[in-house]
């Protein structure tokens, strides 16, 4: 090895980089053994991926601003009076007073005030439910949707990944056909059908869980399973396709030829690159699951965020529409960035070059 060393170059065992370069000795902290370059922790990380994250965050902010502007234009263009939320026609004087109160008499003023409030974390009032602010509604609904969504995604991964792997390994045998059949049914069946059937079977006939609502352990399994099924179906398909792709590649053949056991080859070597499409699907899927599925929430009376998207739009409520859309956009951007970072971590061949 010493023969291949470049003339004049020092080995790393000769000292830290700046010493080798002939620069003055650094401070004690800089020499501390815990302080290493990011790439020393894991080959997939590095200053390149840090730059990537920062760049993506910057673009994320720009995206949020564009989403806000486009949604605002749509909200004010839609016909209908947002301050009219009662059962009777609001007298024009009262409608005008309300518009003044909420700065809706001037669209530019409302645009600026809402944006300024949103930057400070205050989404302002909602017209639909006059006693609550958008912040309160989202603060109450988002954790519920988040718990349900994370649980559903976790279940979906738990079911989907092993099923997809086994289906790919036992390709064209009965297990594969059964899995593909289940996947087709899982993707095609709408959640209000599966949800209603599960509700009838487990809550009404078997009395195992309460009919709907939220707050105890028993309220969790049914909506989580209903929400997980379509995601599990997609994840199974993606894993299966990814695995089939990877199983045919050279390095797998090398590993088998070297004598590694089937289990090691599949679960340790093949699954990581095969999981990449699943990972890129999981990003937006988690964001989508976390912000609630309207149908699941309606059927199981779960007080989540999904119903607020739909109800705010139906009621032409500008504050709630804008705040829920911004929350969803922020979550989507955040999860997409996380997925990109995870990419580099999962597959060291992708060094933040995505």
């Amino acid at each position: 090895m010493a023969k291949s060393r470049r003339a004049g170059a020092m080995l790393s065992r000769d000292g830290p980089a700046n010493v080798r370069a002939g620069m003055p000795a650094p401070s004690a902290w800089a020499c501390h053994p815990y302080r290493r370059r990011a790439s020393a922790w894991h080959p997939g990380l590095g200053s390149a991926s840090l730059r990537l994250v920062l760049r993506r965050l910057g673009w994320g902010v720009v995206t949020l601003a564009c989403v806000y502007a486009v949604t605002f234009v749509m909200v004010i263009s839609v016909p209908g009076n947002p301050v009219q939320q009662g059962a009777r026609n609001l007298p024009p004087a009262a409608a005008q007073a309300l518009r003044v109160r909420y700065s809706m008499d001037n669209n530019w003023r409302y645009f600026g005030e809402f944006a300024w409030g949103a930057l400070r974390g205050d989404f302002g009032p909602t017209f639909m439910y006059a006693d609550w602010t958008c912040n309160q509604i989202i603060a109450q609904a988002l954790p519920v949707s988040a718990v349900l969504g994370v649980l559903a995604i976790a279940l979906a991964v738990l079911i989907g990944v092993p099923a997809g792997v086994l289906s790919a390994v036992r390709r064209d045998r009965w297990f594969d056909w059964l899995t593909l059949g289940c996947v087709l049914v899982g993707i095609s069946l709408p959640t209000f059908v599966t949800g209603s059937v599960l509700l009838l079977v487990f809550a009404v006939y078997l009395h195992v869980v309460p009919i709907g609502g939220w707050g105890t352990l028993a309220h969790l399994p049914l909506p989580a399973v209903t929400l997980a099924l379509p995601f599990a179906a997609y994840i199974t398909r993606l894993t299966r396709v990814g695995m089939l792709d990877v199983l045919g590649s050279d390095f797998i053949r090398t590993a088998r030829a070297k004598g590694l056991s089937r289990r090691t080859v599949i679960w340790k070597h093949a699954l990581k690159p095969a999981a990449l499409p699943v990972l890129s699907y999981l990003g937006p899927a988690t964001a989508q699951a976390m912000t609630g599925s309207f149908v699941v929430e309606k059927v199981f009376a779960v007080p989540g965020l999904g119903q607020h998207f739909v109800n705010a739009a139906l009621n032409h409520d500008p504050g709630l529409i804008l705040s829920t859309v911004l929350v969803l956009a922020a979550l989507l951007i955040a999860f997409n960035i996380m997925v990109d970072v995870l990419y580099a971590w999962v597959d060291p061949r992708i060094k933040g070059a995505v």
Binding site: P79, G80, N81, V83, Q84, G86, A87, R88, N89, L90, P91, P92, A93, A94, A95, Q96, A97, V100, R101, D105, N106, R109, P125, M128, Y129, A130, D131, W132, T133, Q136, Q140, A141, V150, L151, A154, L155, V157, L158, L199, V204, H207, P210, I211, G212, G213, W214, G215, T216, L217, W267, K272, K298, V299, A301, P303, Q307, N311, L314, N315, V346
Partner: protein, 647 residues
């Protein structure tokens, strides 16, 4: 790595389970009922939806309250019966000595005046403010004065922020005394305003106002101080007076036989003094910069603490214990309520189930005790079960509400198409060609009653509506010929504007008219909010509508068709009709009054037909057999303090 991921998933599931399992479950409430969507507001002055009104009737108590079976007014916070002056214009209410708020404070007349004043203020934007402004002397003038002041202060406030104001706001500003001071100060804004319809000159004028170096903030503050100084003096001319701490005197603008019905309505409920701690102030005065009376909307929360506020204080049989949005509203019995010994259910839960079918399942399995509304897709099945007696716990409440269609009586043309409905004969012909029995019994099958009049029959004591028009296609065809639409020059196509829930009725109507009268009918479905705007702006030919009675008197229906009434969506304007209603308002004798109202309604349903009554609702409700004290009634009023549940 994948093992890490799977282990992480399992850990997440385990953590979620552990967290949920560790939460102590609360005991179930004594009585539980369902509300499909959460309350729009708990503010009694601002509410207008029936589920909100239902909660307010239990959380607050007005001067009177409703009888649970007949919905007639009975004793509330005031002793019964109140004294009425011989000219029936002055009511004196003596409050019960044991009437208390939920924090122990006694209920005073000032609390009622505060609540009523708040309902009249433009900042509250109460849908039902007319219940006070139309009846209490001086309230309308006070409201109008306040609105003018708010308009001027808004314009000045916007100008001082540098925003451009609208021509209407500028015209209001110019009419106000403060304009003299602006002109006296000189500068570019002191030039006189242009003529009313000179648009370019107005644009230039508004530009001068916005860009000129005028001390708008100074003028705004001056106008603000003047307005605040005059406010209490103006309110003193309203017919509300606290004779002493426990006596309230109300002076009406005109005699009102149903005033005691109005005093039970949530808009006229008292408000506790602690709300003043949450009032928005500007420069130390209790108004916003635009001159609006505004309170922190969080005042209705039981656990809201700010500026010394101790949470919601109410005087009804129940207080709000807990309100989790879109989940549950828990009411707890008020320990200071004057009839607290008779209140059997100590806690009441209002559960929110967005899907009505799920709530029905919850009712069937015993998780809820009462369903006040069952708008399911299989409503004909519910009606059948209720009518046949197979399900004795299902009741069809004959409701004081009518479903009808508005005809556009005013516009010459609608979106470029001529409007044949301006001719009353065409409208009458359409009414004669409508077979309401078939609609109700064969198309909808929901147990509703066919309607030939606007006011439901056998509903309001002392009043029977006229017979209305029975189906007579021959007479209808003759009327069309008389109106000039003989075969050869037919009636132009009519368009029915409706919301998604009216699909079947509109198709049936279109079929009937096409078959009997040969009129081509087009159907246009719009989503509710856009529909409401189109209807209010009269951009329709025929539009669906419904009306629920606000009080137990025919005028709650008939007032809607007065010329210029805010809810007169058909644009009907008949001086003879207005005169009849005005005469009935002054009539002293109840029989004479009923006779006049009947004549007015006959104009509506038999002659001019600005509306097409279809049916009177029969609302299906479900009450568990072990629940006593809830009675099907026409106003869907369910006071919970009479409820007793046997477990």
């Amino acid at each position: 790595m994948i093992r890490v991921l799977l282990l992480g998933c399992l850990l997440l599931i385990g953590l979620a389970g552990a967290w949920y399992g560790s939460r102590a479950s609360e005991p179930p409430a004594d009585f539980r009922y369902v509300n499909p969507s959460d309350l729009h507001t708990l503010d009694p002055a601002r509410m207008s939806w029936t589920p909100d009104l239902r909660v307010a009737l239990n959380v607050w108590e007005g001067l009177t309250s409703y009888d649970p079976q007949t919905t007639a007014p009975v004793e509330g916070t005031a002793l019964w019966p109140p004294t009425c002056s011989p000219d029936r214009r002055v009511y004196t209410f003596a409050l019960r000595p044991d009437a208390r708020w939920s924090n122990g404070d006694p209920v005073t007349a000032a609390d009622f005046i505060r609540g009523w004043r708040r309902a009249v203020e433009p900042g509250t934007a109460a849908d039902y403010a007319f219940l006070i402004t139309d009846y209490v002397a001086g309230a309308k003038e006070y409201g109008r004065w306040r609105l003018e002041g708010v308009g001027v202060l808004t314009a000045l406030s916007r100008l001082s922020d540098g925003w451009r104001i609208t021509p209407e706001q500028a015209q209001a500003l110019v009419r106000h005394p403060i304009w003299r001071d602006v002109q006296a100060a000189g500068g570019p804004a002191s030039l006189p305003p242009p003529a009313a319809d000179d648009k370019p000159a107005w644009d230039a004028f508004l530009d001068r106002l916005t860009r000129g170096a005028v001390d708008w903030r100074g003028f705004h503050d001056a106008a603000f101080e003047a307005h605040v100084a005059e406010m209490d003096e103006r309110f003193a001319s309203v017919g509300l007076r606290a004779v002493d701490e426990r006596t309230l005197e109300v002076r009406l603008a005109r005699p009102c036989p149903y005033f005691l019905d109005l005093t039970a309505f949530p808009t006229l409920m008292p408000i506790h003094a602690s709300i003043e701690l949450l009032r928005e102030c500007y420069r130390g005065a209790p108004l916003t910069a635009e001159g609006l009376v505004a309170y922190d909307p969080q005042w209705t929360k039981p656990d809201y603490r700010r500026n010394g506020y101790g949470g919601l204080v109410s005087n009804g049989a129940y207080g709000v214990a807990d309100w989790r949005f879109k989940r549950r509203l828990r009411l707890a019995a008020n320990p200071y309520y004057h009839d607290r010994e008779t209140v059997a259910c100590q806690t009441v839960d209002m559960l929110v189930y967005p899907d009505v079918s799920t709530s029905l399942l919850a009712y069937e399995t015993g998780e809820v005790d009462f369903l006040p509304a069952m708008e399911v897709p299989f409503d004909h099945e519910i009606a059948r079960l209720a009518e046949s007696g197979e399900r004795p716990d299902f009741h069809l409440c004959v409701t004081l509400a009518t479903y009808f269609f508005n005809f556009n009586c005013a516009s010459e043309e609608v979106e470029g198409r001529p409007n044949p409905l301006r001719d009353a004969r065409v409208r009458r012909a359409l009414s004669l060609a409508t077979d309401r029995e078939a609609l109700v019994k064969r198309v909808l099958q929901r147990g509703d009653r066919p309607a030939h009049s606007l006011v439901p029959p056998d509903a309001i004591p002392g009043y029977q509506p006229p017979a209305g028009l029975r189906p007579d296609p021959e007479a209808a065809r003759r009327l069309l010929v008389e109106a000039g639409y003989a075969p050869g020059s037919e009636v132009p196509p009519l368009e029915i504007l409706y919301t998604p829930s009216d699909e079947r009725v509109c198709q049936a109507l279109a079929r009937m008219w096409e078959e009997e009268l040969g009129i081509r009918v087009e159907l246009r479905c719009k989503e509710t909010k856009t529909f409401a705007e189109d209807r209010a702006a009269q951009r329709y030919l025929i539009a669906r509508a419904n009306w629920y009675a606000d009080y137990n008197d025919p005028t709650t229906f008939l007032d809607c068709l007065l010329t210029g009434n805010g809810n007169n969506d058909s644009g009907y304007a008949n001086p003879a009709y207005d005169a009849l209603l005005a005469e009935a308002a002054e009539a002293a004798d109840a029989a004479v009054r009923a006779e006049l109202l009947q004549q007015a309604e006959a104009l509506i349903v038999e002659q001019d037909c600005p509306i097409l009554p279809i049916l009177h609702y029969a609302t299906p409700i479900a009450i568990k057999p072990n629940v006593h004290g809830l009675y099907p009634n026409a106003r869907l009023v369910f006071p919970f303090r009479y409820v007793r549940v046997e477990r």
